[in-house]
């Protein structure tokens, strides 16, 4: 009994000494700044910065391979803190959100064939450019919703992807995942968007979608400077900083939407809070 306790006790002591020695001798030096950086990062490991997770981004920052502003999910706050730790000055990038530029769900847009197969937009797109007759419209099979690390994308019952302006951090993962390039990065300050991605001529668009842009230029006339029409498709000119609300009521196909007044039909997201100025000037 006594010898057993003694043997185990001595063995334990020896092992403790060996471990203690190894811990000092082979200690890996970690830059204290790296730990500090990890503290301030969002920790979602989303990869929006282009590096493998937040740890990879922290290393890249210290090696000078990454920009302080590369962490878009963190927002201005994180950027400022990172800049503080690294002792550099940060120029905050304008916050952006991703927007699905389409309202053509299964009720509004026509399919050119019946798709039976894998519930994945990339797989569907590889079969004759996808079932949707519109070459640019949302396929509605949810590849973006599955890839979003922030759960910011929902699929409506009628097969349309809708992105929450509150949850979206601007990581761009959905933008690169969408095979139809229907998701665009837009400045957060703008709530008015032309929700159409078809570059076809108006007559053709009318044949396959009720809510498609027919490039009639009425929005351009209603809100000068706020819209531009390129290649048979109207878009909000985000760089112009002009007020685009005037074009909304003028659009004959109702493809211009102000998200303040509500998300596309079928979405469960509640509209973003109305900015203060709007209340001041009724």
């Amino acid at each position: 009994m006594f010898s057993a306790i003694l043997t185990l006790g001595v063995m334990g002591l020896l092992a403790a000494l060996a471990l203690g020695f190894a811990a000092r001798k082979f200690a890996v030096e970690v830059d204290p700044r790296e730990l500090a950086l990890l503290e301030v990062m969002p920790g979602a490991n989303c990869g929006a910065c282009g590096f493998p997770g937040c740890g990879g981004f922290a290393k890249a920052l210290l090696e000078g391979k990454a920009m302080v502003t590369d962490c878009s999910p963190g927002g201005a706050d994180t950027v400022e803190r990172i800049a503080h730790i690294l002792g550099v000055e940060a120029i905050a990038a304008e916050p952006e959100v991703a927007v699905v530029l389409c309202q053509g769900d299964n009720l509004r847009a026509r399919d050119k064939y019946i798709y039976q197969g894998l519930e994945d937009c990339v797989a569907a797109q590889s079969l004759a450019q996808g079932p949707k007759a519109c070459p640019g419209g949302c396929l509605g099979l949810g590849t973006c919703a599955r890839i979003c690390p922030f759960d910011a994308i929902e699929m409506t019952a009628e097969g349309l992807a809708v992105i929450s302006r509150e949850k979206c951090t601007g990581c761009r993962k959905c933008v690169s995942a969408c095979p139809r390039k229907v998701i665009a990065m837009t400045p957060l300050r703008t709530t008015v968007h032309v929700l159409c991605n078809s570059h076809d001529k108006g007559a053709l668009v009318r044949k396959y979608c009720e809510l498609g842009c027919i490039a009639c230029h009425l929005c351009v006339k209603a809100s000068p400077g706020a819209y531009k029409v390129e290649n048979s498709l109207a878009q909000v000119d985000y760089d112009s900083h002009c007020d685009a609300t005037g074009g909304i009521g003028k659009c004959p196909t109702k493809c211009i939407r102000d998200f303040i007044l509500g998300y596309p039909e079928g979405s469960s997201f509640s509209p973003p809070v109305v900015p203060v100025q709007a209340e001041e000037n009724p």
Binding site: K112, Y113, Q116, G117, L118, D120, V122, A123, S126, L127, A128, Q129, I147
Partner: protein, 438 residues
């Protein structure tokens, strides 16, 4: 020979009775022929004619671009009326040459007749290349590439594929019955070209009349006609090599790695036309069948014939088309309408009405393992499909997703009606895309 049996496979109803006994008919000239520049594996051809040009049957209208490519020839005489994007069998609109036939069908001069025995192997290969010949089994891989093994690869066996294991299709069957001499001539030319001793013609046992006919024709030659048990995909290249020669092509390898070159019977027949008569590949045999087609037929069609014309020639449709397939039902390419036109790879056109389509509801995988035992390349489709759904591309690659031959046995056998082939194909696409990026 012929005693080996590949693992897996399925026995779908062969549905060949509708056309197996019908002789090949010549398809009448359509009002226009639409020849897409992309109808083979490899680089698309580039047009060498302009709108308004008059062409003769067999004139080169699009030249091959690069080694792995094939030229395209006018499939009748007439006028080039357009060079524009037209509906293609892939579902997109691709640049095509449109010819309005003049009805005279005058042949171009071409390289003229020749005796194959007096030509060198390079001359033989050039004549095959200049005729724009591609694999007519459906894969449309340029034939001269297959016939140019790299230095150091020793080819000792030529395997001719007369299996035609896809249900409904009877084009190769009728070709063997009616034009066996062309096939024999093509086989002899290929034998000289590749300098091989062993030539095997593999035919599935459900075509006993074709086996008898080809044995009769090949009498006195050293060509061995090898009957093969009926099992899909007996006609898949690697499975056929194993069944007929007992050799297994390694994972990621090519038939030439085990000393074999495989050619389809229809390819052999057009090689005979090209070498002996200097005629380009401008027509092929196509089975037009399916429950919705009024009079199913085997047709000799010109490359570029609009699909609507093929259906009209076969008496139109009995009911509204719910599914249109180019090729067989197992591997054929689905079409959303009949707007495209036949290419060099169109071995069949099948039309189904909604009454003849199985009503399958997708369910969850119950891990029954049927897809695993049916898979002829011995991979696990359900595992790869699961990885594909989760975008776990590395894992899918480790499960040998790239070995999939997309034969469709797993999807056919799945009791939960899961789109397994599509999932594996999705994984393969992602693997290839990533390889390109790296």
């Amino acid at each position: 020979m012929g005693h080996h049996s590949f693992s897996g496979g399925v026995h779908p109803p062969d549905s060949k009775a509708q056309t197996a006994s019908k002789a090949i008919e010549n398809c009448p000239l359509p009002e226009e022929l639409v020849l897409p520049l992309m109808m083979h594996i490899g680089a698309p051809a580039s047009a060498v004619v302009a709108v308004g040009d008059r062409v003769l049957h067999g004139d080169l209208i699009a030249a091959p671009r690069g080694f792995v490519s094939a030229g395209i020839h006018a499939s009748t005489s007439g006028e080039v009326i357009a060079l524009e994007p037209r509906p293609h069998v892939s579902g997109s609109r691709l640049l095509s040459i449109v010819i309005r036939p003049d009805g005279e069908d005058r042949w171009a001069q071409g390289p003229g007749e020749a005796d194959p025995n007096e030509l060198s192997t390079d001359q033989l290969r050039d004549r095959i290349r200049d005729a724009g010949i591609v694999g007519l089994g459906g894969a449309t891989f340029p034939t001269q590439v297959k016939l140019s093994p790299p230095e150091g690869k020793k080819i000792d066996t030529l395997l001719i594929n007369g299996v035609e294991c896809e249900p409904f299709l009877t084009a190769d069957h009728r070709l063997m019955l009616e034009q066996g001499e062309r096939i024999l001539d093509g086989m002899e030319i290929l034998r000289c070209l590749l300098a091989v001793d062993q030539v095997i013609l593999g035919i599935e046992e459900n075509k006993p009349d074709a086996i008898v006919a080809m044995r009769q024709i090949c009498k006195g030659t050293s060509i061995e006609v090898c009957p093969l048990p009926v099992r899909y995909p007996q006609g898949a290249e690697k499975q056929l090599i194993f069944a007929a020669c007992g050799r297994e092509v390694p994972s990621g390898g090519l038939p030439m790695d085990v000393g074999v070159v495989v050619q389809n019977v229809a390819t052999a027949a057009s090689i005979s036309d090209a070498v002996r008569y200097g005629r380009a590949l401008t027509e092929r045999i196509c089975t037009v069948s399916g429950p919705a087609v009024a009079q199913p037929k085997n047709l000799r069609i010109r490359i570029g014939t609009p699909l609507t014309h093929l259906v009209e020639v076969c008496g139109g449709l009995k009911e509204e088309a719910a599914k249109i397939l180019l090729g067989g039902p197992m591997m054929g390419m689905a079409q959303m309408n009949l707007a495209a036109s036949a290419t060099k790879g169109t071995s069949g056109l099948l039309v189904f009405g909604s009454s003849s389509l199985p009503k399958m509801l997708q369910g969850p995988c119950i891990r029954c393992g049927r897809c695993v035992s049916a898979c002829p390349v011995r991979i696990s489709p359900t595992t790869i499909a699961a990885y594909a759904r989760l975008d776990m591309i590395d894992e899918a690659q480790q499960c040998h997703a790239m070995d999939c031959i997309e034969c469709g046995c797993c999807t056919y056998t799945c009791p939960a009606a899961l789109p397994l082939v599509q999932s594996v194909r999705h994984a393969k696409g992602a693997i290839v895309a990533r390889r390109r990026k790296v």
